[in-house]
Amino acid sequence: MIYDIRHVTTYEYESPVSFARCTLRLEPRSGGGQELISHHVEIRPRPVERHVRRDFFGTLTESVVIEAAHRHLRIDSRSRVSISREPPARDAASPPWESIRDIAFEATSLGPSSPVGYVFASPLVPVLRPVSAYAAMSFPPGAGILTGAVDLMHRIRTEFRYDPKATVISTPLDEVFDKRHGVCQDFAHVMIAGLRGLGLPAAYVSGYLRTIPPAGQPRLQGADATHAWVSLWCGAELGWVDFDPTNDLLVANDHIVLAVARDFSDVSPVDGIIVGSPKQKLGVAVDVLLVE
């Protein structure tokens, strides 16, 4: 499947901003059944400096400096990707979760795809006893890793309420967990925290969902903005498997991956600092159209 993605981020400031330094992570990655065909970012006002590099996690990261005074910032990203994935079935057989935990821990690499980098707490995902205990209910001794993770994902989908007004980025995980509500980012963080609490390697994925669902299927939650889900390492054979706790499904061909890392703080698509206006209004518009 080939998708055209348009991701427009706008900031409106109350007073003129004289300086901005931004970090953009807007280029969809290639790999895992996804190929980037083309990508282009247009920024207004025009930056005086733009340079790109790959960060530790392999995400293409663009650093941008704007020195022209402005009240509006517009970052218009267009990408085309092709996707062809075959996720395992929900009830497929898989190794016992304890063996995954032990193998992950023994990894002899610190590289971005080494599972050992994803078993520890990270800036936005603390390891908390209640969350670990919640996750443990899905992982009785000897349970298959896939079976356990599917069950945990399903429980989050049914026991948490999707509510875009309930949380902001800075809402801490324990509050999300206590109140059982939030958005895709919160659900992903909760699931990751639970899995890591058990010593399992879980990563955070940022990306997009197709806007218009295939005929006869419901529109997915989170399709008009950036989306987030969970990637779990399920052993050498299955590798990294993606779970979308917001929609209770194993990721197939409706998801486009932007970046994979420890949590949102590593992958935030547009990040930066400005000088000049404490008051700002953010707008994000995402369109994901099926080309063929």
């Binding site: 330094r21 610190l110 980025i169």
Partner: protein, 837 residues
Amino acid sequence: MGEGAAEDNDQADRAQAQQRIAQWVRDYSRLPGIPDEFLGPDGAPRAVWRRFFDAFGALAPDEVERRFGMADRHLREAGVTYRAPGDSADRPWSISHLPLLIDEADWKQLSAGITQRAELLELVLRDIYGAGKLVAEGALPAAAIAGSPEYLRPVCGVEPPGGRYLSLYAADVGRGPDGRWWVLSDRTQAPSGAGYALENRLVLSRAFSDLYKSMNVPRVAPFFEAFRDSLRARADRDEPRIGVLSPGSFSETYFEHATLARYLGFLLVEGDDLAVSEDRVHIRTVAGLKRLDVLLRRVDSNSLDPLELDASSRLGVPGLIDVLRKDGVVVANMPGSGVLEARALLGFLPALSRRLLGEELKMPHIATWWCGQKSARDEVLSRLDQVAIEGAYARGVPGFDQNGPVLASELDTAGRQRLADAISARGMDYVGQEVVRLSTMPVWDQGQITPRPFVLRVFAAATPDGWAIMPGGFCRIADKADARAVSMGDGARAADVWVVSGKQVSTASLLPATDKVRIRRVAGVLPSRAADNLFWLGRYLERAEATLRLVRALGSPSGPNKGTAASLQSSERIQRLLVSWGAISQASRAAPGRIVAEALQSPERFGSALSLVRAAQRTATSLRERLSPDAWQVIIEMAERLSYEVEDDDGVLSAAELTLQELSSFAGLAQENMNRAAGWRFLDIGRRTERAINTARFARQFAYDEAGDEDLDILLTLVDSQITYRSRYLLAPILAPVRDLAVLDPYNPRSVAFQVMTLNEHIAALPSLKEHGLIEKPQRLAVAVQAMLATAEAEKLEVKTLFSLEQDLLSLAEAIGLHYFPHGPNASRPEKLTGLA
């Protein structure tokens, strides 16, 4: 007195000294089973301590107390302070008056161990952030590193600018039961304590200068000199600019940051002072952006760059990590170095030493089992009561709300179960450590000495010729038996550390050899924030002075409180001024006594003299490295005096009077002792600006068109110009001459015209950022006001002119702030972009 008698006296003294020493030894109750620094296993004093106490015992008891008092006074006057977590104010430094003595031979071994360890850690860091062989080949478990919050992924693969990771390394050590020194923990992030060690040394070597000399203690100055030189050498240009990056005056160890900056000749900077542009770090100064070459950081890695690390941090510099990638700034220690503070790594160091250095570790460290490995976990769980449980990576034990180690033996059954469960579930987050009984050292306690456990922090600086070890260190003495929990927070004391040598030591000080120094007359650059603080320090003190003058005018017996109708009016005028300044809540006819007391020392009124002096003190706190100890002391004394409640009207007046005298002594110190570089100018600009505004306002209030004798007299008193007036006019006050003297006369150092003239001189002397060749706003305004004052005629002056003069002066103050302190309290700080983008 004959010679024989003198000898007898001497002998008597010696006998007394020996008696004292014998008494101390008898009363020194060693803790059973724990080695002691002072007494050997045979119960006799060790040689170095014997030497020390022979000389110390010769001092009469009152002489000892006198010198201890002298040391404490030095510390107080130097303003040595620290802050424990959660403190809202600084605590005075508490020093144990006896130094820790270490025999030279013993020290040599200790130094060799620390040197080797520093070298090893540098190599390990190089591999972890570089080639990654140790992990790939199984010498180091990946999890032992990946779990550390100090493992900084953004600097993986970045070659450290300046060529090394560690510039300053410290180890906490203690002497174990076997008599050897043990490493308790490594400090690789941003080791603190070196500055305090320096202060401890200054204080103790002064209080016991003869004793200090007789013990041949090597000085610490050459260590700091070597450290400074090596940082300078690491920059890529001669005469580099070096900053100490501090989190700010709320930091626990801010005093130390200021001390180091002053002692080493570096700039004390905060994140807000720095800006990244064109792949370099720059410091914002009153003369624009100036390149900064080296940062000695006291900010933890994760807070260094909100763009790539902790996004919520306000302490760092956006874009700093990217500058490191481009080799644009040296940061000491390299961000990410803190990963080696993880206890999980300790157990692997002996093997790493063999592998990387080809030698055994010279110094043991405290036995540590990382529970990430099954065998170690089982070991720890099987003897949970004999080990201390610590977090494997960072301070604190995950899941347990306490600072130090968790001891299973101190937990109840449920707590023990919780601990065992936590270790079983996520063992990688925990280590078990042997509980070592560390040796004790003597502390002075009311004429006796008693043993106390201690921890010694030893410092190593990387130099082109290898590692330099500070001879001495930072010693913290605990009141608890488990000395590993010693931090300065819980009633602990610090001690100086003397390495005792048999031979004479050289007397190098920090004065550099003359051939290396280029003569300079102006001290470096002035960061905008420091200029801003100096400006406000000047303004707060001047405003305090004005308030005190009003208090004095209101309260003095010859003042307007005589009960006549005119006096009542004058009193009301003064009170209205005090109300509008926020010095009192409301005017009152009934209780002038209460009004003056309120204006003098109400902590609730932001405009009271007390509040203003406190504001000055807060501002001065951020300027510690730029103020002389005398000047600082004056501010402290004023704040103390004003916060001490006074009883009656006389008390109020005399407190006001004394504080006014102290203010003028501060002004004198600044005038006579401050270098005439930009810093002094900003202090004076603040003071002149404030005085000009206040004088203009006083003139408007008391020299209004119909003002009578009494009000004019008050004005002359407020602007301290009574004597000048009387000697010039020999008359009762008359409106036009009084206005002339207070506002227009450029020869009267209290007039508005004099302040504006001085301001113009200052502004003209300051660096200009001229853009497009235009005159800058502060200068434009100041020149205009000066011209107006120079051409005005006293007889034709109107109150509305005085009013617009006051407005012009306020605009000038604002223009100075905006122009020279573009990121001052009212200016825009960098903001984070927010929202789920």
